[in-house]
Symmetry: C2
Subunit: 298 residues, 2 copies
């Protein structure tokens, strides 16, 4: 007993160190929060009303080790009938032409912030959304919702939410660079294309689904799946001569979700203003990496 | 002092509780690890050599609040010249036709696991990779590397690594469903298409870049950017009549990265076997959601 009471101080010190170390460690993981999580943290601090529902955002769920890694129904395959598959086949010459033509069309794509107000045929937008919906998805969950906004008042409400957050972001930036030209910065948080573009496409990822029995259905790889779908959507837009700028509005997700009355299992992944380019549209003079910098052949 | 030595046992007990609680807490966060992180955790347990380099995987970095949210160079815009942009414009009738045609081509896409060994023109694959490289990316970082494997011995090494992990996954699955038909399961972890397909495209995301001064350059939204690029790649393959199956090999990333001699800032995101469909190819009899389930118009 004497020995014990003699040792306990040392024991206490060791435990202090252990507790301190583990605390630090668990703090460390906090730095890998996703932007959506950040939103919630930020918003939480500001006591904003919509946060509670969104606190449970699990941005990306990857398959558990007992899940297959092939996409599009390999999970359900055992239960599903298989049907023959013989898609269109092109002669070699045609393949080469089609691969060159598609590259030259896609290589003209640029992120464009100067969008014309002129109307775009609704059927074209419908076909573009249909096309995005052909993307593969983890376990064929199709975890995407495309909200297509053309109503001027709704577009303006979206603009106000996005610009408010953007201005906060830029003013924070001003904090450390106070000498910067305010006017120049201003052009960065003013997004009039959100009013001008005939369509805004807001792409939501469904972080989980709801089963008939009301239980949650995990959507594995939902963010990757929806991003792949967005890539196909960008190809479909470029294919018809429409432009957009890929944006991932910071911190606006929960507010826009509520504005658009989307359920809490849906998180905003991207916002794409869509239309024809303005006649005086310009783009930053960027180059793409040469193929030798992006491809390795073995 | 007497008081202290009297209190220390209680102090020790309290610290035990604190340490225990925090340990549990940090375990808890472990369940939200990404598959790559899982890999490392798993591998760490098995004392595998390649883990240390990969422990620092930050799968997805979203922009800090002082970053702009527009993609493709909006960060650098202030420093970059702007050039006029006037892409191809199609008459309305042509737009409608192109949108319908592209949808009908993409709507024929399926994930195909039965791939023909017949050769595919190398130039077609080159153009497909070029096309994938036209994707937008956060701050124009172009954080992708496409490793195109056609060498039979390398394809076989990749197959061995993937099947080893897959078999482990399925055997774990067997654990709870021991009555299941082993033969049926076996077909799930045997991936002979990894030997048979003329090309394997392994898509790596660069989680960070290296600046000229040797410092790390953060690649914001790298996983979303590379997934968008993968969507454009899938469109390019479908456009020329080639097939693939989107797969995200579980736990194999670090081994495949070392096998293919990719640096530690690159993490495997997807593995796509590419070729013509086998003459007797079948696909699970899946349907896609009707557009009314994926689109909302406001």
């Amino acid at each position: 007993m004497a020995l014990l009471s003699l040792l306990t101080p040392f024991l206490a010190v060791i435990l202090c160190l252990v507790a301190g170390f583990v605390l630090l460690k668990s703090r460390g993981t906090g730095t890998t929060l996703t932007s959506t999580d950040k939103t919630n943290t930020t918003s939480k601090v500001d006591f904003k009303p919509w946060v509670d529902q969104d606190l449970q955002d699990n941005t990306e769920i990857t398959a558990k080790e007992d899940e297959s890694d092939d996409w599009d129904g390999s999970h359900e395959e055992e239960g599903l009938a298989h049907v023959p598959y013989s898609p269109q086949r092109y002669p070699e010459k045609t393949m080469l032409e089609r691969s060159r033509d598609f590259y030259s069309v896609m290589n003209q794509r640029r992120s464009v912030r100067f969008i014309s107000p002129e109307p775009v045929p609704r059927e074209v937008i419908d076909n573009v959304i249909h096309t995005a919906g052909t993307a593969p998805s983890g376990a064929h969950t199709e975890p995407w919702t495309f909200v297509v906004v053309s109503a001027p008042d709704m577009k303006h409400k979206i603009r106000l939410i996005v610009e408010e957050e953007e201005e906060m972001n830029y003013r924070q930036r001003m904090g450390d660079k106070w000498v910067q030209d305010l006017a120049k910065l201003k052009t960065n948080w003013i997004k009039d294309y959100l009013d001008i573009a005939p369509y805004l496409i807001l792409i939501f990822k469904q972080t989980f689904g709801i089963l008939p029995n009301g239980k949650k259905k995990t959507h594995y790889y939902n963010e990757i799946s929806v991003s792949i779908s967005c890539g196909i959507l960008l190809a479909a837009l470029q294919n018809v001569g429409l432009v957009t700028v890929t944006s991932t509005p910071l911190n606006c997700g929960p507010q826009l979700r509520l504005l658009l009355q989307r359920p809490a299992n849906e998180k905003l992944l991207m916002l794409l203003p869509v239309g024809f380019p303005a006649s005086d549209a310009t783009v930053p003079d960027l180059n793409r990496k040469p193929v030798t910098d992006i491809a390795v052949y073995i």
